[in-house]
Symmetry: C2
Subunit: 197 residues, 2 copies
């Protein structure tokens, strides 16, 4: 398994198609066609479509985690400012894909959680990893005294992740980033508030 170029091409094409159409609506043949790889190669690298899907999730999760770290653990920027940058990046991406794609993990979580425990476990782990990134960012904010709330950073991180995922879903059906802006606005105005003097 020295040459992983073919495997990577399959995962990249798969991630793109699955992001756009979902897992069930994306056939293996469509993936093969979109990257010009024959079926023999596919089943050389992956034992099944599920195996392939899990590889797509894993790849997406690791590369996405890198950008998450770059934004949320950038110590040259105040913690709440980092959060705002994260939201801005998400909005930019939503606009770039014309509100069609959204979040791959969120999409698959919705589509496959009830269908396969293997998928559910994998997606749940990804969410938990993300949540942890928010936790440390919020802890930084709390340590600096930027947040007055007595709510635990863990609960706050969960609240932000779910709210953001919901906003993405709504943005897709509305074809507008307004719900994402609305979420951010209320979050900073009501939840992540500075301590009163």
């Amino acid at each position: 398994m020295k040459n992983n170029v073919t495997r990577d091409k399959l995962i990249d094409s798969g991630a793109q198609l699955i992001s756009q159409q979902g897992y069930n609506a994306t056939g293996i043949n469509a993936v093969l066609k979109s990257c010009g790889v024959p079926k023999g190669s596919f089943y050389h690298y992956f034992s099944s479509k599920e195996d392939f899907g899990l590889a797509v999730i894993e790849r997406f999760a690791t590369t996405y985690d890198e950008t998450l770290v770059a934004i949320l653990e950038d110590n040259d920027t105040p913690p709440l400012e980092r959060l705002k940058r994260y939201f801005a990046t998400g909005r930019d991406y939503m606009l770039a894909c014309d509100h069609t794609t959204g979040c791959l993990i969120g999409n698959l979580g919705q589509e496959l959680s009830g269908q396969s425990d293997t998928f559910r476990d994998a997606l749940n782990l990804v969410f938990q990893r993300w949540e942890q990134r928010f936790v440390s960012c919020l802890q930084d904010a709390k340590a600096r005294g930027d947040i007055a709330t007595c709510i635990a950073p863990e609960a706050l991180a969960g609240f932000i992740l779910t709210g953001w995922e919901g906003a993405i879903l709504r943005a897709k059906t509305l074809k507008s980033v307004a719900p994402m802006e609305q979420f951010e606005m209320i979050l900073f105005q009501q939840v992540l508030v500075r301590p009163s003097p």
Copy 2:
């Protein structure tokens, strides 16, 4: 089209299967099998699978709207209490289906928004109708002085809907209603706060 029993059976079975497995993963034959209706009847009542899917959405939306009205416009109960009842009902349902089903409209919004404009429009309308129910409940709360916030009820309603949908998604992957409880907790503790004396 006097006797709609068969049509209703199809829609009921379809709603159940689509809720559990999603639209793409639910074949017409599976629907027919689950309610013992032959294919001839299906295509007598519906011109295509898409047509059927839209009927399922419409039916779900109207029946769900009735329970929404019953809870959110119950004038014998204070507005914020009505909201809490709504959340409690959602949590009960989530537990009843063992965290597998979630919200049909949310599921389909995620799965089909990028796939078909017809579906997206239909689902968007449902969301907007729901949002309106929240708006009037929040207006009641504001009129009674139960809410201090200067945020417009329209924005607040959007925030609640997206946050709730996100919490449902997270609850599915986590197989726990904790995210739903967490959302409600922070919402009432930080956002829907009484005016300070």
